[in-house]
Symmetry: D3
Subunit: 245 residues, 6 copies
């Protein structure tokens, strides 16, 4: 069986990670997984939310949003409707949790980093691209804060790396990194967030059409784990380049 | 190691399922998992949302909410704050998806069933109790609609049963059906939704403190699968009793 | 003339008051007036709203809400619509005023008690059941706060008892404690809140179909006053039982 | 005892009713009760809300609002806060119910009349002035609709007249038509809405400081009934003048 | 060519400015430009918004609103819709900027003045009438604050006067002070805010139907400048009268 | 005097216009004025808003928004705050009006085009860049609709071209195309929208610090008119390139 875009079942779409896309943000990345493009910025502010004051610990949070015409048909702006939909809430929370999994709050000190992930163009996998790109923006923001001594010398708030990928079963075949057309047809859909050392931060599998069994779950986890190894390499590669290159 | 309430690691809390708790709703259940109590009603209306009209297919959706003093300290009402929080959205969507996994929309016909799951008292596992109880309310509502001929004779909208349970790793030990105190201390937290024939509808695992590996994931899935077998028995037992008993 | 449910015109529906229905709240009651069931919790917090700080005086307030399927046809959740309707506001304010009528703010000290009254099942008279039940929850919460020394020793914040009942004219006959079917048909509808010593806290009479004259008003007030005497007895009886009986 | 402004206990403040205050509205009145000034407009539209379509019956509704600086200290605009407060809701509903009490929906036909009551200056009794003024605006709007044949010839939608007044007990003395300073000091506060033939449409009595007994209630009702007789005369007098005089 | 109401192209509608229209506000004006009537109040409070604290400087802001039936057909209340429309926002901001143009913040000291401009009746030019009236209310409020020593002796927060007028091109002819009917038909519409010494504070020209050229722009500015000279005279005249005359 | 970035007073910042930036939208442009970058998409839908149905005429509207970290310090998302601010409303309305000025609604037919202008990076002049870029996206969308026969053959909905630029007086010198730092220091600030044939669509001048006189206004208009001639050339140049180049 060959996929819509000719990939093998275990193949990622082309991944690009461009750093330094914003002159204002402390960290910024334009990431693409094929035609999915997400703009991620990391904003550092000194101080923490009220409920965390005096703890000596920092905070990391995220907001996800789609531009109204990032999709095939234009969607209403959530600002115009006056409320945020359930899907947006869910993904914002997922991104925040995923990045906090590799943060040492003590080392961060009483500073807050907000990750904004705005989808410029959507073609499936926006949340996984967002997590993968946000990690790179976060890493840059932390480097910036260390250089500015906002984070104390010698402290390393990042305890590891994190990336994410979608997997799913389409026409009975487990596939890696679904594009929109595959996603719509998937019987089962799973988003997996992994650390660079191959452990899980989040596993979210949903039976879209048909409940799935343990064997299928295992096949999907195998695919996802391998995909995240590749993504980790892309992240590390991007971060070793000099900013501006 | 013994648990806070003396249970073994693979033991559910006491489960009770009382049907017919509302004189108005077409299906209604008060379910308890230990001190967690959720009131589930199923409301049948003829007709479907606009986007589904003329399809010949029905719809099932859910809304979850916590009473302000269902928790240890009083929370603000979402109606008073004027917006629904991300957690509420997320759980409402999860409950809806879980129940739709066992629905044949064609057999349901152009009818809508809304599941309301209101938490009267919370002690961990409110979403899993809600799914487990909502299934029973849904089954009663479908029986009612069949008797009223709102669902056409001979049609069987339910394609199976569904239940849910939480599992987690606390102090390195995988535990079934976490109470609030255990939930707070869990390193990894997972909610699993299963069909009665042992397949997965949803698997949502989150590393709260420490990423988890494949072996831990497997241990948690084993526990959850066994727990759902027990819950399915409780559901079937409740549904075989005459309503009012 | 006999009533729908066989009662005499001056007869209450069966009243039950169950205390201790929540393990979290400082006071909690499940009250029923016939098929109307309201869950009332009283939550104590130290401190008062900003506008009252430094006054040495406490505050008591209330929030009323109906579960979406407490009524015969499902209503939208106010949290989902994003705003609270006029009727909800009106009843919340009425409950708060009614309970504040028997509170000595100085004796309460700078503490706040919030009464949450959530209607689980509605069959007329939800606001009067809520006031009557909330009083019992409030009394239990005050006892709790006295025991915890949050209220200073020797202080008695409760200056009396309060209960409420609906009355109305149906087909020309004044009736006590209208059920939903009677309420819909009433020409005049009145809610009366009384103290245990027979004085009025609130009198709210509305001509639903036909303006009413002074004679009819007097007949309704006579009925209501007698009804509140009975309710006061039910409250006192409930409060003399040991919690947990 | 003499009152703050030298009135006797049973004396109204000076009442003025100016009709035709808007060139756009079908009925419009600037009413004053002493320093309380309310601008009332009645807007006629053909058609009725969806839930009433095809019934052959009309609808009358009201909206009340205070200009931000109608009071001694400026209040926030409800449009800026994004939600309507409980008090505003409550009064809007009261005004609507009061005017519907003198409407024959069948005679009105499928037309809607909206009464807008905007308080330009507040000095106590804004809701009673609003009802009293809105009646006059409503009468003018109905005359206009009859002349335009929007209401069918020979049909009389108004079944009577309606006015309203506040009464209260201040320092133990029952007083008619409380100004703001008296209202603040009242132990008991009551708003009474009467038809021109002396019957009650609404009776709303509230113990602000001290519960009240039956004797006090009777004294207040006597005062209010007499006050409404005077207000009815002012309304009739205003309506007999030619518009524009 | 003669205008709808018989005016010459460069003629204002009759202007009236009544001061002291509110007993509560520190400054208040009912201004009319023909049938357009706007009620302007100026409210003084000691203190400034948080972002300005400790600066030693004051703040002036404005809120504009239309009563629902100020127009020919009734509009929804923004408080009921739960949000403020773009036009309202835009005009409120314009009024605030216009008045701040003649304020010396240092001389005002840490005090805030809020201008509320509520349109009682609309017939074109509501924003220009609002600015022109608000200036007079502001001047009265400042005089009041000087007398009360809220503004320090010898300080003059007003650095000049400000007024505003609309101009437009209708059927090819530039006209001053458009009424609603002219406004609707205008090809180009311009609002001009001037200081008393003939300089511009705001120039907002919009091509409604047809782009306009430099010559037309100049003709409109000439008209507007002359109109503001007249309005300044009306303002000064109103302010020289004793309040209450 | 030399400017912050070395430009002459009448010099634009570098302008780039990249077409085809979205695979979904019917027209899309990434425009930059120096460091200001705005992503403009044009979305075509058949049909018009309800109030325009049956008119045979189309509609064009716009929505403007800033990404939270497009500015130097992160701003709250309007979707999270639940309401759109006045500035956003004002600019969205301005963009819509500006583009409608070159649309022939009859030729467009009953189709709607929505322009979304999302600021990715802000450095002054975001609204003028948005208008200038949105025109190019609009032109591409119209070409697309003509090719798809959604617009009838032979019809030309575009009656001209439109672009916009900011001008202002800084330290007494009139300057073209202000960057953020200049904008903050400007005494007077003006946004001018011109058609390609040199006429005005909008002229919005605001005295930020000091009222401005006729001579200054004229100098600013001269600068802006010349700037728009250059922008028109950039637009035409971009549109003559083959899409994808």
């Amino acid at each position: 069986m060959s996929r819509i875009d000719g990939r093998t079942p275990d193949q990622l779409r082309p991944v690009t990670i461009e750093r330094g896309w914003s002159k204002h943000a402390e960290g910024s990345v334009l990431i693409s997984f094929g035609d999915t493009k997400v703009f991620c910025t990391a904003s550092v502010t000194e101080g923490v939310p009220r409920w965390r004051k005096g703890s000596g610990e920092g905070w990391v949070t995220a907001e996800y949003s789609m531009l109204p015409r990032s999709t095939n048909t234009r969607g209403d702006r959530e600002s115009v409707r006056g409320k945020i939909g359930g899907r947006t809430h869910e993904i914002s929370r997922l991104i925040g949790r995923s990045l906090r999994a590799v943060i040492d709050y003590k080392a961060l000190g009483e500073n807050t980093i907000v990750l904004d992930c705005d989808v410029l163009q959507a073609d499936g996998g926006t949340r996984t691209a967002a997590i993968t790109g946000a990690y790179v923006a976060l890493a840059d923001a932390i480097t910036w804060a260390q250089r500015k001594k906002i984070i104390k010398p010698g402290r390393k708030p990042l305890t590891g790396t994190v990336s994410a990928i979608s997997v799913g079963i389409v026409d009975g075949t487990p596939l890696l990194d679904l594009c929109y057309e595959e996603d719509v047809r998937a019987e089962t859909d799973m988003n997996v967030v992994c650390t660079g050392d191959g452990r899980f931060v989040e596993v979210q599998g949903t039976a879209e059409a048909e409940p799935f069994d343990r064997k299928e779950l295992n096949a999907l986890l195998d695919l996802a784990t391998a995909g995240c190894v590749d993504l980790t390499a892309f992240q590390n590669d991007a971060l070793t380049r000099t900013l501006g290159e």
